[in-house]
């Protein structure tokens, strides 16, 4: 007869069968049997005890984004399950594979408003790729196998397994079979040769093509294919926020970032191109601005693994449904070698204007207080442009995106779709654990840092080497900027009264220093980069610093503000 083990034991063995060696979590009443069993598996399953369940989800996201493997979270029922919602929703928007296991009250108590009972499946259905409740120990292996298969294939996303307490304690005969097929779910559709031919024709006959490179390029590992396509047909490439680092920043065909605070060239040329080739991106409203006036002159090719993205925001001319890497491999042989020198040259003038009007002021200011741009630029330089950049949300995020340079893929971890303040600190911890050999630089603001600041405790406990650059303007800077530009300088609830962040960091055993003036900056960054272990720089930033260029929300993609009073093109 086969050995009988508990459901909690089956969960441990199932996770190990999926190659998991690291989980993020927080114990509680309805998950105690799992934590009891985890005690026996500490040599195989390292558990990172975060300080809040939201932190567990963001840490798992950071881990997943840099490693490409699903991040695993274990928490209890009730408030823990509601605390994971932000991370689950964030992971859905940003296509990040997570397997989240929530404890649940025992089956007989379901539906009776038992202590710490909450309808986890009900609340996670709109926010997850898949969620299910497991009420019997014998169903655990199959649920875990399906969860990993669903989370990590196709367009990745978060899955939630709600595990009742009696399923954890029930006995079962363990047998594990990985999932590789679900009849209602096809994550690797066959690539349609006719679609490929049609797209090849469109590319071969276009005079002013531009590639929009999104997160899907990174997820599918299509970076080489993307560069090969661009080089063969001499096509400029622009990246979305989550597509940053899919192409090295210094590649001659790389023309910068799209979107509200992106580079002028790719944004202005969106409405001049005759063909947009969107790869693994979803035409978010922060990219398109007003969809009615978005690239009306261009044919649109959309390559994506998620067919529901086709024609969702922008009507397409042609689509290829499939994994970006495989699609590009199939497409490239049909692409003719071309030169688009004249078209490429049209990126020069906007780049020059942006440098003169925005970059010089931001990155090389002649005086005054420090700007976010110059700090990001110097950190990027000091790390040889090789660091993983993790950001929070707001101005710190946009400055990090604009002024970090990237040399290798999977180097940008940021909350794009959901825009979650507080994402950064736990995500940086997870990123370091997912790529321990790389330097992790986390740019944050004084607002976002304080939303999940308790995770400094996680850094303390695990001695996680995260470099924290706090761009501190004692303001909710991005809202301040909108208030300044569109709400007559009425700074409603945006000034922050802040604590001494250096003392806080020190209390958690983290080395830290204040950087008050520009002449202290280089040396402080140098100390931070050379320091063995976590480090916090509290940089005193000018609160009037604004992120430009800017396309106001809902404006046309080529309506680009350079300063509060000047728009591109300059007369």
């Amino acid at each position: 007869m086969k050995e009988k083990i508990s459901g909690a034991d089956a969960l441990m063995r199932s996770l190990i069968s999926e190659g998991v060696d690291l989980v993020f979590g927080y114990p509680g009443g309805s998950i105690i049997p799992v934590y009891d069993k985890l005690y026996d598996y500490q040599d195989k399953l390292k558990h990172i005890l975060v300080r809040h369940e939201q932190g567990a989800t963001h840490a798992a996201q950071g881990y997943a984004r840099v490693s490409g493997r699903p991040g695993v979270v274990i928490v209890t029922s009730g408030p823990a399950a509601t605390n994971i919602i932000t991370g689950v929703g964030d992971a859905l928007m940003d296509s990040t594979p997570l397997v989240v296991i929530t404890g649940q009250v025992a089956t007989p108590f379901l539906g009776f408003d038992a202590f710490q009972e909450t309808d986890v499946v009900g609340i996670t259905q709109p926010l997850s790729k898949w969620s299910c409740q497991v009420r019997r120990a014998e169903d655990i292996p199959r649920a875990v196998a399906r969860a990993f298969y669903i989370a990590s294939t196709g367009r990745p996303g978060p899955v939630v397994i709600d595990l009742t307490k009696d399923a954890q304690t029930g006995m079962m005969e363990f047998d594990y079979e990985k999932c590789d097929f679900i009849r209602s779910y096809n994550p690797s559709p066959d690539i349609d040769a006719a679609d490929v031919a049609r797209v090849a024709d469109l590319i071969n006959s276009s005079e002013r093509p531009m590639i929009l490179s999104g997160h899907g390029v990174m997820i599918s590992g299509a970076e080489k294919g993307l560069a090969a396509l661009a080089e063969k047909a001499d096509i400029p490439v622009a990246a979305t926020l989550l597509g940053l680092s899919t192409m090295p920043s210094d590649h001659p065909l790389y023309k910068g970032m799209l979107g509200m605070h992106g580079n002028i060239g790719p944004n202005i040329n969106t409405n001049r191109a005759d063909l947009l080739i969107a790869v693994g991106m979803r035409f978010d409203d922060r990219i398109t601005g007003n969809v009615k006036t978005y690239a009306p002159q261009a044919k649109i090719v959309h390559i994506d693994i998620d067919a529901s993205e086709f024609d969702k925001n922008i009507a397409t001319t042609a689509t290829i449904h499939g994994d970006a890497r495989k699609v590009l491999e199939a497409l490239i042989p049909h692409i003719k070698e071309r030169k688009h020198a004249e078209w490429l040259a049209t990126f020069d003038e906007p780049e020059r204007v942006e440098r003169e009007k925005v970059v010089m002021r931001e990155v090389y200011p002649s005086g005054g207080r420090m700007t976010m741009g110059e700090v990001v630029n110097k950190v990027s330089e000091a790390t040889g442009n090789r660091a993983i950049v993790v950001t929070d949300v707001g101005q710190n995020q946009m400055f990090s995106a604009r002024y970090s340079r990237f040399t290798e893929p999977r180097s940008m971890v940021t909350s794009g779709g959901l825009g979650t303040m507080g994402f950064g600190l736990p995500a940086a911890i997870g990123a370091k654990m997912g790529a321990p050999e790389r330097t992790v630089c986390f740019f944050t603001g004084d607002g976002g840092l304080q939303m999940t600041i308790q995770e400094l405790g996680t850094i303390l406990e695990y001695q996680t080497d995260v470099k924290i650059i706090l761009l501190n303007n004692n303001f909710l800077g991005n809202v301040r900027q909108w208030q300044s530009l569109f709400f007559n300088d009425r700074f409603s609830q945006t000034p922050l009264v802040n604590p001494d962040f250096v003392m806080i960091a020190n209390a958690y055993g983290i080395s830290a220093e204040n950087v008050e003036t520009r002449d202290e900056l280089d040396a402080a960054i140098d100390r931070m980069v050379k320091h063995d272990g976590a480090y916090l720089l509290n940089v005193n930033i000018d609160e009037t610093d604004m992120i430009f260029p800017m396309t106001p929300a809902g404006a046309n993609v080529d309506h680009i503000m350079l300063t509060p009073t000047e728009c591109y093109p300059i007369d």
Binding site: V121, Q125, K129, D180, F181, S184, Y185, A307
Partner: protein, 182 residues
């Protein structure tokens, strides 16, 4: 874009919570489901949802893709009325006395091809199947007899297509399974 009535047929695994997963896709887009019915399909273990909703075609096409994106949904299809044969059923509860007093009752029942399901001293229950306009027409005629209860079911529909799309899809999936395991 003109609003018109669309019929969604959704085939899914028979699983708890599917209805919620599907209905929230409509809710989020401020779309009002006109009618909904769920039953087993002709294929064992596969549930069939029939949903009707007013909207414009581009929005409805986005919705059908969002429905199909749910992992446990096997396939979702979108139809206009000319592509399907559909039916609804309505029940009417009318005071017996009112009907007895009026000699037109027989004529109404005949004309509408309605059926009497039950007669008691207090009430009569009539049944009519048909399209919404037809069940509505009977309702209007019976109104003068003080209808005390009325209910109309959700639409049920089958396609006019000679090919059974779902069966073909499931056969393809079986091929995919054997291919992936070779």
């Amino acid at each position: 874009m003109e609003n018109q009535l669309f019929t969604f047929t959704v085939f899914s695994e028979n699983q708890v919570g599917l209805l919620n997963q599907i209905s929230i896709i409509f809710t989020r887009r401020c779309l009002n489901i006109e009618s909904l019915s769920v039953s087993p399909s002709s294929i064992k273990g596969v549930s069939k949802f029939t949903i009707t909703c007013f909207g414009d075609r581009p929005m409805m096409e986005r919705v059908v893709k969002q429905i199909e994106k749910r992992i446990d949904v096997i396939k979702a299809y979108l139809y206009t009325d000319d592509e399907i044969v559909y039916q609804e059923i309505a029940l009417y509860k009318v005071p017996t006395e009112a009907l007895l007093d009026d000699s037109a009752v027989e004529e109404i029942i005949r004309r509408h091809n309605a059926r009497i399901l039950e007669i008691t001293r207090e009430y009569v229950i009539l049944e009519k199947t048909g399209h919404q306009e037809e069940t509505e027409a009977l309702f209007i005629e019976l109104e003068k007899y003080d209808i005390s209860q009325f209910v109309r079911s959700g639409r049920v529909a089958v396609t006019k297509s000679p090919r059974e799309l779902l069966s073909m899809y499931l056969e393809e999936q079986e091929l995919r399974k054997s291919r992936s395991r070779q």
